[in-house]
């Protein structure tokens, strides 16, 4: 089956070479980081997690988003998702691989990463995150591949696969819940210390994951003979739209609690993210344009995606998916992690700007994810098209 | 076998390259390393053979015992001499020359322990 990824047109190979070039560039930056230390990044004593961990957090959501395809198809026998469920599973594989790479890039002593297994520590949420992420990767690789391979052979998949698929459904919820628990169980970081964090993570995941999937599906409709089907696309719009609405409702709840209670600790980070925080005669606001853009794109994207469906407009649908994906990416992949470090534990403000090397490594890990995604999708749609003749 | 004409020569070339160091060095007798022992001390904390094979295990035990269990910082040899259970302040007190003691074997066996990333060798010029 894998041989399907080795045959393709010039466009396919150009895309592969483009991704490999970015990976190679990032690899060189990583060598630099490995030799110098994490000081080569923009992180500091006050902002100890930067773009690596924020991308990791966001991508756990993209991985969990696959659930929104697996659940209707396998539990509710929603047949219209038959052609794209495998795309959800394969997207989860690519996203989890990116997550693990971002964690490795962020470690000060990557060679010692397996200490987490050598000295298992159940009271650490990072230990559990390691377990659920690797488990989820395993489940999706096995289920996705087994189901596709059965289809390739023209038979129904084995019975045991079904049980692993059932297991993967609560497992998808667990990966993002545990990832939220990394943050929301820390005393002293008011912005993260909120019980709504895990629900909010899940809501944004169930919007961002399917939005990316729908976007990729639209691109594939342009570049290949593969068609998702109108019913499936319309259903995805419902999922994305309502999940995004829920996410913004949760964000609104955070705003209410902070500003109605007027507790300074609860307001500081939101002040910093959306209006700029004044401290010692200086206003810190480097994330304000991003957060406002995120809010705007989200609030425009939600009605737009429903309008796009009503008008059956592919272009509008793609635009609204891009808006929503970017909005949620900024919200969680930037503001949530970086915002938590402002103010510092000594009531100061330190702003974070990623370095060139850091951005290069980040781009390379994204490219690795798209590389894996491209190969897997190539195999998947070739098999699907072959079966349908 | 499919593609026999290419696979078997390729395998042979691969095997040849992999075992190249063995061919290249065959027939040469290598000098076993001779770590220089301290002149003024005759006895180590454990018998020489045990130290030779498992000093690294003992160092890890000292570390975990002292750091985590509040273990004793001092020990006594079989002959009753007191010593400090510490690489930097114990071992290196007698084996004062890292290059002539530690490094001779470590270089020979191509191991790079990370002890010296943090611990200081006696009178190390940084």
């Amino acid at each position: 089956m894998i041989e399907k990824a080795l045959k393709g047109g010039s466009g396919y190979w150009a895309w592969i070479i483009f991704l490999l070039a970015i990976i190679g560039m990032g690899g060189m930056f990583y060598v630099q980081q490995y030799n110098y230390g994490l000081g080569i990044t923009g992180m500091s004593r006050d902002v100890t997690w930067g773009v690596y961990i924020s991308q990791f957090t966001f991508l756990v959501g993209v991985a969990a988003g696959g659930l929104m395809l697996v659940l209707p198809y396998y539990i509710h026998h929603y047949k219209d998702f038959g052609r794209i469920t495998i795309l959800g599973e394969f997207m989860a594989i690519a996203a989890v691989i990116m997550c693990l790479l971002f964690i490795m890039a962020d470690l000060g002593q990557p060679i010692r990463a397996l200490n987490v297994l050598l000295h298992p520590t159940p009271n650490s949420m990072l230990f559990w995150d390691m377990i659920v992420l690797n488990g989820y990767l395993f489940l999706n690789v096995v289920c996705g591949w087994a189901v596709l391979h059965a289809e390739y052979k023209g038979v129904k998949y084995a019975r045991w696969v079904k049980y692993l698929i059932y297991l993967s459904i609560p497992w998808a919820v667990s990966i993002h819940t545990v990832t939220a628990f990394l943050y929301c169980g820390l005393p002293g970081r008011h912005f993260w210390l909120t019980a709504i964090l895990a629900p909010r993570f899940l809501a944004s995941a169930f919007a961002a994951g399917p939005a990316l999937l729908l976007l990729v599906a639209l691109i594939m409709e342009r570049t290949t003979k593969f068609r998702v089907g109108q019913v499936a696309k319309d259903k995805l719009v419902t999922i994305i739209g309502y999940a995004a609405l829920l996410n913004f409702f949760f964000v609104g709840c955070e705003f209410f609690v902070a500003y109605y209670s007027q507790i300074p600790g609860h307001m500081h980070t939101l002040d910093y993210l959306f209006w700029g925080l004044s401290h010692d005669g200086h206003t810190y606001n480097n994330l304000v344009p991003f957060m406002r853009a995120s809010m705007l794109m989200g609030l425009v994207g939600i009605p737009l995606i429903f309008i796009a469906r009503a008008r059956q407009s592919g272009g509008l649908l793609a635009l609204s998916c891009i808006l929503l994906f970017l909005s949620l990416w900024i919200d969680k992949g930037l503001g949530l992690v970086l915002g938590g470090f402002v103010p510092t534990m000594m009531e100061g403000v330190t702003e974070y700007y990623p370095s060139v090397q850091e951005l290069g490594i980040t781009a390379a890990i994204w490219a690795t994810g798209f590389f894996v995604l491209t190969l897997l999708y190539k195999v998947a749609i070739e098999v699907k098209l072959e079966q349908e003749g | 076998m499919y593609g026999k004409g290419r696979i078997i020569p390729a395998l042979l070339i691969f095997l040849g390259l992999m075992t190249f160091p063995l061919w290249y060095n065959a027939g040469f007798a290598h000098q076993a390393p001779k770590p220089e022992k301290p002149a003024e001390y005759k006895e180590c904390v454990r018998p020489t053979q045990e130290m030779r094979t498992s000093h690294m295990v003992m160092l890890n035990q000292w570390r975990d015992d002292i750091l985590r269990e509040d273990g004793a910082r001092k020990g006594v040899t079989a002959d009753g001499t007191e010593y400090v259970r510490s690489l930097q302040n114990g071992c290196m007190h007698c084996h004062a020359n890292k290059k002539k003691f530690c490094d001779t074997c470590h270089t020979y066996t191509a191991v790079k322990p990370y002890c010296w990333d943090c611990h200081l060798e006696p009178k190390e010029a940084m």
Binding site: G37, L38, G39, M43, S44, R45, D46, T48, W49, I103, D106, L107, G108, Q109, P110, R112, A113, N115, V116, L118, H119, T121, P122, N123, S124, M125, L126, F127, M130, Y183, G185, L186, P187, G188, R189, G265, G340, F341, T344, M345, M346, E347, G348, T350 | R63, D64, I66, L67, R68, D70, R73, Q88, D117, C118, H119, L120, P122, K123, E124, M126
Partner: protein, 276 residues
């Protein structure tokens, strides 16, 4: 019918067992990080520090009045600690590593920073170091047990095991932890080493691990007091001792003075007390 009832009872029984088991399983999860957790229920919500019931618990009282009276004392403490422990000085706040440092009142005690506070509080140097909490959030967060709490209350680190994930730094509500963003044994552009004078008796750290104040465990083991306390000499600016021994100097100072702690509402039960 009969069979159905039996099934129901089975399920109900299992559910009951799960219900009873869950809290103890949760306690097991949190185990190994606090010895005072038994009493925490009694003191919860009152922000009151509870000492470990038995054995030694090292603690410290910092008398800020003495630091105000001796303006060169803070620098002396920092110097003593950082020299003994080979703490590097990178000369910039981004890479900074510090075990002990003087900070502003409102930075150390944000909960006490109401407006119209006493004029003297604005310029007061408050010595800041690891609180060696009884319920340390950093220990809870560490995925490898590279940081842990010893029986005598010292929150210690094993630098051999640290993977550099910096979860402990996010977890510590006191900003007490530093990361080795670059090689501490390196040199700056002018060729000056980051560690100016090396103490040959103590190791340095390596790139990529977290470090912090160790309450001078290596000195306590030899019967000495922490270096910063020693540096304050006879001023009484820092008093160190066993909080569980009612006759120790630190216990006497504590019972005779009104002291405050950093962020007591977080329930970390620090071992450090301040006299303002």
């Amino acid at each position: 019918m009969k069979k159905d009832r039996r099934d129901f009872l089975k399920v109900a029984g299992l559910a009951a067992i799960a219900g009873i088991g869950a809290p103890s399983a949760f306690n097991m999860l949190l185990k190994g990080e606090a010895t005072a957790s038994e009493q925490s229920a009694a003191a919860a919500g009152q922000g009151e520090a509870v000492a470990a019931p038995t054995g030694k618990r090292w603690g410290m009282v910092i008398d800020v009045r003495k630091f105000v009276a001796n303006p060169n004392l803070p620098a002396k403490c920092v110097e003593a600690c950082h020299t003994i422990h080979n703490v590097p000085n990178f000369g910039n706040p981004k890479d900074e590593i510090k075990w002990i440092w003087p900070d502003k009142f409102e930075a150390v005690f944000p909960d006490e920073s109401h407006y119209k506070r006493h004029e003297a509080l604005h310029s007061m140097p408050i010595m800041t170091l690891c609180n060696h909490c009884d319920k340390p959030p950093c220990v809870r967060a560490c995925p490898t047990k590279a940081t842990y709490r010893m029986k005598d209350g010292v929150v210690a680190m094993d630098y051999h095991r640290c993977i550099g994930c910096r979860f402990c730094m996010a977890a510590c509500p006191y900003g007490a932890r530093s990361f080795n963003w670059r090689d501490p044994r390196g040199k700056d552009e002018n060729g000056n080493p980051f560690i100016k004078t090396v103490n040959p008796k103590f190791p340095t750290r390596m790139r990529g691990v977290v470090e912090k104040c160790n309450f001078c465990v290596e000195r306590l083991a030899l019967g000495q007091i922490p270096a910063c306390v020693e540096a304050t000499g006879t001023t009484g600016a820092m008093v160190f001792g066993d909080l569980n021994d009612p006759n120790s100097e630190v216990s006497k100072v504590l019972s005779a003075n009104f002291t405050i702690q950093r962020k007591p509402s977080l329930g970390t039960y620090p071992s450090l007390f301040y006299i303002i």
